[in-house]
Amino acid sequence: MNDLLFNLILTLDASFRVCIPLIFASMAGLFAERSGVVDIGLEGKLLMSAFIAASAASVFGSPWIGLVAGMFASCVFAMIHGFASITYKGNQIVSGVAINILASGLTMILTLAWFKKGGITPTLQADERFLSITLPGVDIIDHIPIIGVIYRELISGHNILVYLAFAVVPLVWWVVYRTRFGLRLRAVGENPKAVDTAGLSVEGLRYKALLIGGILCGIGGAYIAIAHNAQFTKEMTAGQGFIALAALIFGKWHPYKVLAACFLFGFLDALALRLQGVVLPVIGEVPVQLIEAIPYLLTVILLAGFIGKAIPPKASAQPYIKEL
């Protein structure tokens, strides 16, 4: 029994770690899509930021510089997306695809040019990355059964970006639902014309939303390279940007529901990893691929309207053309 509990806690702990980039990226997507800009370039922004963060952390010897550099890189890509899809009213999906492919190519080219290694950056030393923090009181609470284990394994012992991720979600909720900017953001995604008529800049609001998204994606990418891992490796984001997109849809563009979706998808990922090669009674060997496929399957089923209905912001994917 104890063993099972411990295993469960370890799996939950692993889910925390893997769902962090999903949280940052899906919150980034939430801002973009709530403003009416579809953002399938989350993956590219995560990848670019992971690479730049790892490079900067390695060159300047500080994770904080890495984090800021990663955020900057991600913002640059977000602005390219904005330039194409807001200013020039291009196809937002095409622009997002361009960003993903560009990030994939540039990271490969630049690792080779800067570090003479194809696809990887130098391994980061301990002081160049974000390390786990042991929360105060672990020793004291450790003696309490169950709660002690939960506190030690689950709550304590993460790096600062993990705690930041869990702080970001309520903040996003507050911004989106309780501030004037949030109201305008939601309005511009539903009915840009009304916002325009009220004398506000549709383009300005959308740019702001993308910029916030750039910052958040930047933190997510930095987490992957300099907190969760200790270097950048080729294609290391491995589709997490797309899972974040799935989580965003699954959570119906609402911060807390999206958080729940991220956690569910993270848990499935951690579970798949833990069940690799495990033979269970009755079922036999667990087909890990099936568990890995669940987030995508669930999203498709949800989109199909079989379990609730995912309705995106009304004006998403439509460039706003001002009538003269």
Partner: protein
């Protein structure tokens, strides 16, 4: 020239030309940024891709894949659909080809077996596209998102199939056994040798004829059949299509099936053309490359052939760059694909205001 004529020229020729040139220019900037002389790099690239038999063979071999995925994306574009799932459809199409190749009676004639294998690719590619298509048409789920999800599902499915079903007993790497020789498409150098011409060995095989055949077919289908008209009409204006009695839902499903089927042909070149077995990620990057090819080729088969050739040149020339220069790898092609998609797609209207202002100002 009237203003309308001038506008047509701007939209049809000048704008795409400017966009492609900008993408090239931006690539040159990337080269400069990493300390590579872009002119030197271009020379190596072009020599590597076109300068000798073997290079040319490789170029055409890569181009073949891009023709398939480029056509796939283009057909969907004509109906106003963005098929971002070419990657997955190509992958699963490969499974269809492999299943035919592995389980068919190898004593049958190649004239029967090879078309069957090709049909397997068409069928499985179409099957992988039909669910997102149905969901878009009848349940309103956005096809871009569902096809992205289907790319990942394809990936999971193929890993499962290769690890648990098709892998040979005792074999470590996840790949199928070799296909029987009867389904192998002949290499072009072998065909030439049979007629007494010796050309260098390369992976170029008769798939290139399949690619040309399907380009012609797509052209004929889109511009000279009732269905093709219905597809283009739906893409131009959904409402107009409905008024003329076209059922857009049906069109979505049919178009996506055709699109998926075309993407499913990548395996013809890669699997029965070159590798003669099914393995992981044989489709890697061609599905997304197809988007760049379709955008650059303006969704027309002729344009796609030209764009596919260009990307073939870049792929093969990129390999040569890898070899010749230390600072750059063939991934520069990926950068370039991204730039082409950005400038020919996302920023398609970048120069439009400027060109209109100078070449076709509003007459007062």
């Amino acid at each position: 020239m009237t203003r309308d004529r001038r506008l047509a020229w701007i939209n049809g020729l000048l704008l795409p030309l400017f966009n492609v040139l900008t993408a090239f220019l931006a690539t040159a900037v990337v080269f400069l940024f990493i300390g590579v002389d872009p002119i030197e790099a271009t020379k190596i690239l072009i020599y590597g891709a076109l300068g000798y038999d073997e290079g040319l063979g490789y170029t055409l071999y890569y181009a073949t894949n891009f023709v398939f995925t480029g056509l796939a994306v283009a057909v969907a574009f004509h109906a106003g659909l963005f098929n971002i799932g070419g990657e997955g459809q190509a992958y699963v199409g490969g499974l269809g080809i492999a299943l035919v190749a592995l389980y068919i009676d190898p004593t049958l004639s190649a004239w029967l077996v090879i078309p069957l294998a090709i049909s397997g690719g068409l069928l499985f590619g179409a099957l992988w596209a039909i669910i997102p298509a149905y969901l878009q048409a009848y349940r309103g789920s956005h096809i871009v998102i569902t096809t992205i999800m289907f790319n990942f599902l394809a990936s999971a499915l193929m890993v499962y199939m290769l690890v648990h079903v098709l892998r040979e007993v005792g074999q470590m790497s996840p790949e199928s056994r070799n296909f029987p020789e009867v389904v192998w498409l002949p290499f072009v150098h072998d065909v030439f040798a049979r007629f007494g011409y010796n050309i260098a060995k390369s992976p170029l095989n008769l798939s290139i004829l399949v690619a040309l055949f399907f380009s012609l077919l797509v052209w004929f289908f889109l511009w000279h059949t009732r269905w093709g008209f219905a597809i283009r009409a739906t893409g131009k204006s959904n409402d107009a299509a409905v008024y003329s009695g076209i059922n857009p839902k049906k069109i979505i499903v049919v178009t996506m099936c055709i699109s998926g089927a075309l993407a499913g042909l990548v395996g013809v070149n890669e699997l029965i053309g070159v590798q003669h077995r099914l393995f992981l990620n044989f489709n890697y990057g061609y599905g997304f490359g197809g988007i760049a090819v379709a955008l650059m080729g303006r969704n027309h088969p002729v344009g796609i052939l030209i764009a596919a050739l260009l990307f073939g040149i870049l792929y093969q020339g990129g390999a040569e760059l890898d070899f010749e220069l230390q600072n750059v790898s063939r991934d520069i092609v990926v950068v370039m694909q991204g730039l082409v998609i950005l400038f020919c797609g996302g920023l398609e209207y970048l120069y439009r205001p400027l060109l209109i202002r100078f070449l076709a100002p509003i007459e007062t």
